[in-house]
Amino acid sequence: MSTGSVNLEQCLKCNLCTLVCPMMEVNPDYPGPKKAGPDGERYRLKDPAFFDYALKYCLNCKRCEVACPSDVHIGDMIQSARIKYGSQAKKKGLRGLRDWTLASTDLVGTVSSPVAPLVNGVLGTRPVKAVMDAVLAVDKHRTFPKYSRQKFVSWFRKQDQSAFDRFVTYFHGCYVNYNYPDLGKDFVRLMNAAGYGVHLLNKEKCCGVALMSNGFADKARKQGTVNLDSMRKAVSAGEQVLTTSSTCTFTMRDEYPDVLGLDNSEIRDSLMLATKWLYTKLSAGEIHLNFRKDFKMKVVYHTACHMQKMGWQIYSIALLQMIPGLDLTVLDQNCCGIAGTFGFKKENYGYSQAIGSKLFADVEDSGADIVATDCETCKWQIEMSTGKTVLNPVEILAKAVEF
């Protein structure tokens, strides 16, 4: 059951959401959050035929909701409308296949990992990029995140965690498992150094964010149910569920109840980003980490849109500020433009780069060695568009700690 339309009457038509919408700035075909959200909802309730297919341009960044003075759930309304009325627009043929492939992170990851060098090599070649661009409409400028030969869970199974008497549960997400196990390894090393053992969820599925934005809400709901069941078990065993991806976290905390209608009330307060957990425990003196004395790094922090929506960047920022030898600048919050799978699609590539241009300029001008952000798709976008290395705050912390 969707709660998307409940508070459309709180909208005063002030247009502050329109002002902060990154898509609105670069794409005149997008009606903007006010029209697509509360205004459009009024019509759609009357007759679903009023559904406007231009709603596909919504990045679901939720900047509109952060700006709204009346707490209208503008982004949820748009997302729910796309799920409810947009299904008939489900693309057929090759673009449908592309959307399905981009959304099926678990399946594609499982298939690709064993043959990672081959997949990475092939996806990186110009002819393959050209064919994917022409046939599947995946933009040729995009660099695919590399698949890792060893999955994070395969590595983790060999780690002995039996020496610990207190534990946290880790939701690693698809990116850590299939593409970037190093982040997960850093997480485990940090938790162990802080005196905590790590468990994985009984069963973990992709959080479903890519499924939702590509029109596969039913599948997302099924995966969400599996994740919530596993998290309830972990939480009832007294463990908190920690993550290293802001978008997975935001999806499971807020989109599950608000868009998919899944009840997460029993676990919501126990599900959090590792940076929030680490900062809270470190500042309360409950855990201790030994920092290296020779550590030096100049970092700019980019607040991902979903991070801003949760308001949790203050933990990541405060955590980075605790590191001796780290020089931190916080950038003004701007959208990077990739919005998950959105920016991979040929028809969106131009918008994606135009939206991100302000951020790219800020990053280039900063003179920093490293960009820190809690979102993996922001990482791909910033690395591709600026050439700077982007790290998760957990990785930076692991580099600064003496193990």
Binding site: L16, C68, P69, D269, Q333
Partner: protein
């Protein structure tokens, strides 16, 4: 997290206070639920908050203070919707700048008006029929309703002064005393030498 001053409300009143205090060198946090319509101009609501952030102010955008904690005669912390109950934001001084009815600084039902964060005392007429004047252009009594303070500007709760809680802007009742930024800064500068 600990600050010198936490300001609740990101409208004109809250921003002006945050700006002055940050310039004076204080560690300031401002809780701004959405952008403020009171801050006119196309880009101003957004760019003001960004400028405060550049000045070192911790800006909680799109967040709402859901509970202010008062212990004895002092305000000791604030809990927000986004940060959750395990993060109590602490400060030496708190300033309420959440405005009146539209911005939900004051809430009401048919017969009562209250301040939802700290449960501060609110002045209003017990007789519901006297809240508004049917003459549209007359002085409207409800515009005088608001949070009460003592003569030093301390906000009252349960009839007692909360000695480190002040109010600024529209949330004040007519005749109450607004947070005196000038003397507060003077005192601060004197204290730190």
């Amino acid at each position: 997290m600990k600050f010198d001053v936490i300001i609740i409300g990101g409208g004109w009143a809250g921003r002006s206070v945050a700006d002055r205090l940050a310039l004076a060198g204080m560690k300031v946090c401002i809780v701004s639920e959405g952008l403020s319509l009171a801050v006119a101009g196309n880009n101003a609501p957004y760019s003001h908050l960004a400028a405060l952030q550049q000045r070192g102010v911790t800006v909680l955008r799109g967040d709402r203070a859901i509970k202010g904690i008062i212990t004895g005669s002092k305000a000791t912390g604030v809990i927000t919707r986004n940060l959750g109950k395990d993060t109590v934001l602490k400060a030496d001084v708190f300033v309420l700048a959440t405005g009146k009815f539209f911005s939900r600084g004051l809430l009401s039902d048919m017969n009562h008006i209250w301040e939802p964060v700290f449960g501060a005392d609110v002045s209003y007429d017990a007789d519901r029929t006297k809240w508004a004047d049917s003459e549209f252009f007359a002085h409207q009594p409800f515009m005088d309703f608001g949070v009460l303070t003592d003569e030093a500007g301390h906000v009252l709760a349960g009839g007692n002064s909360v000695v480190n809680l002040y109010a600024a802007g529209e949330i004040l009742s007519a005749g109450s005393k607004e947070f005196d930024i000038d003397s507060f800064i003077e005192e601060y500068e004197h204290r730190i030498g």
